[in-house]
């Protein structure tokens, strides 16, 4: 019987190796898989390449992973948070690399990676410094930039509910990068508030079909970044 559920976040992230590329879902605190990130901090993998829209907030979640010196390279669109983090200092002192990608190009590159598209063209960033060193090409008289699909070894994603097949639904704006990161990762790990019985998710309502998910971890009361920050929490 297919059962992708995994007893703990610790076991779910156990296979992440040094040097792995890890996509981490979430935009702001919506959809941030804090418990999976904290399990990854505990787990110890280093030299990670991390893909997320931002660089985290406060001293928890992604910001904590970065502060712990475990990220070699960030691929993101906006390496700033709603609070100060260690990222600017690490970046200026050369301790972390940054690949800055416009947000829509980042999303499309991830979707392309998941869909087996090695490269595509977009007008975004044409004529700007972010297109420097990239191939340009005209279609119908307009300049476009060639961008590559992005894949990852792992994705850490927060969803609302999932079944044993990994079929998942999300909560409001927490959907953001989750579905496309599950597509683009060889091993997609999702934390959900509840693992539901067969048939509880209408086939018409599935947002991420289970084919894109490898492990499901139940985290019944997921922490919220803003609450942790308000409490002055830091991890570990």
């Amino acid at each position: 019987m297919i059962d992708k559920s995994c007893p703990s976040a610790t076991e779910a992230v156990a296979a992440i190796t040094d040097g792995a590329t890890v996509m981490i879902g979430g935009f702001g605190e919506a959809g941030s898989p804090i418990e999976l990130i904290h399990a990854l901090i505990d787990q110890g993998a280093r030299d990670l390449v991390v893909i997320n829209n931002n660089t985290g907030n406060g001293q928890v979640g992604l910001a904590a992973l970065i502060a712990a010196g475990r990220v070699r390279r960030m691929i993101c669109s906006f390496p700033r948070g709603t609070t100060d983090t260690l990222f600017p200092e690490l970046y200026r002192s050369g301790k972390i690399e940054l690949e800055l990608v416009p947000q829509g190009t980042l999303a499309e590159r991830i979707r392309a990676g998941g869909a087996g598209i090695p490269a595509f063209y977009t007008a975004t960033a044409a004529g700007t410094s972010l297109a420097e060193g990239k191939e340009l090409r005209q279609f119908n008289g307009r300049d476009y930039v060639m961008e590559y699909g992005l894949r990852a070894d792992f994705a850490l994603v927060k969803a609302e509910r999932a079944d044993r097949f990994g079929n998942a639904v999300y909560n409001k704006a927490a959907r953001n990068f989750g579905p496309i990161m599950c597509m683009a990762a060889r091993t997609a790990i999702i934390q959900v508030g509840r693992i539901v019985e067969d048939g509880e998710i209408d086939p018409e309502h599935v947002v991420t079909p289970g084919i894109f998910v490898q492990h499901v971890v139940a985290v019944e009361q997921p922490a919220l970044e803003s609450e942790l920050i308000a409490q002055g929490a830091s991890y570990p």
Partner: protein, 242 residues
């Protein structure tokens, strides 16, 4: 998006230092709102642009898009009713209007890149007479670069407009023949709303359409680092007190 926030922050500092010329921030947003048509799909940047929603004339129904995957959102909820996972691209709590929908980031930017957003209104550091926009970086050495969705929005939305103070906090122009800061996009802006004027960008450069009360063409030319043509039907903005 927070590049707009930064642009806005600069503007606000300016506002603290000197008596303000021309329109208030709210009046600028009001003026921009008059151009939003019934049924439009609209994306508003952080700062003054997001104030536009409050001033859309009665009787026009507008659908607001936010890059992080929501169409049809409404104003900030009452205190205590915010949902942590219902936020906009500025990471602030929002509510939902009738007809709202959620979708993932690739679909959200398909709406932008695919030309489905009718109007996008952003802040600016510099705008050029050829429609170039700079609003994400001053290019200063040592700064951590951050772009967000601004480049996607200016490249993809059907009409891209700017709301900005006419000059910086130091009184320096923001409208130039050519931008000196790194560009967000080339030839993307079609209209600029400032505290002093409404200016269109035509194939021939800046064209003055409207002026704030008491602002002369000569004043505007002094504060604009590019040639400024004046429309035959140039008129004075009649904004309510805001």
């Amino acid at each position: 998006m927070s590049s707009d926030a930064r642009a806005d922050e600069r503007t606000q500092r300016s506002g603290d230092k000197k008596p303000r010329l021309g329109l208030s921030r709210a009046q600028m947003a009001w003026r921009a709102a008059q151009d939003i048509l019934d049924g439009a799909y609209v994306n508003l940047g952080i700062g003054i642009p997001e104030m536009v929603a409050a001033f859309v004339p009665d009787g026009r129904e507008v659908v607001y898009h936010t890059e992080n995957g929501v169409l049809g959102f409404g104003p900030a909820p009452a205190p205590g009713e915010e949902l942590r996972e219902l936020i906009n691209a500025g990471k602030k709590p929002i509510s939902l209007n009738p007809g709202a929908s959620f979708f993932h980031h690739a679909d959200s930017f398909a709406m932008i890149r695919g030309g489905h957003i009718d109007v996008c209104i952003l802040g600016a550091m510099q705008v050029a007479a050829n429609g170039d926009l700079a609003n994400w970086s001053t290019g200063a050495a040592g700064a951590v670069p951050a772009v967000g969705g601004a480049m996607d929005l200016v490249a993809g939305a059907k009409q891209v407009r700017v709301i900005t103070d006419h000059v910086t906090s130091r009184g320096e122009p923001k409208l130039f023949e050519r931008c000196s800061y790194p560009l967000t996009g080339q030839a993307v802006i079609e209209r600029v709303y400032t505290n002093l004027a409404v200016i269109d960008i035509t194939g021939d450069g800046f064209l003055l359409r409207e002026t704030a009360p008491g602002i002369s063409t000569e004043q505007l030319r002094e504060l604009t680092a590019a040639s400024l043509a004046v429309a035959d039907d140039c008129r004075v903005i009649e904004a309510p007190e805001l």
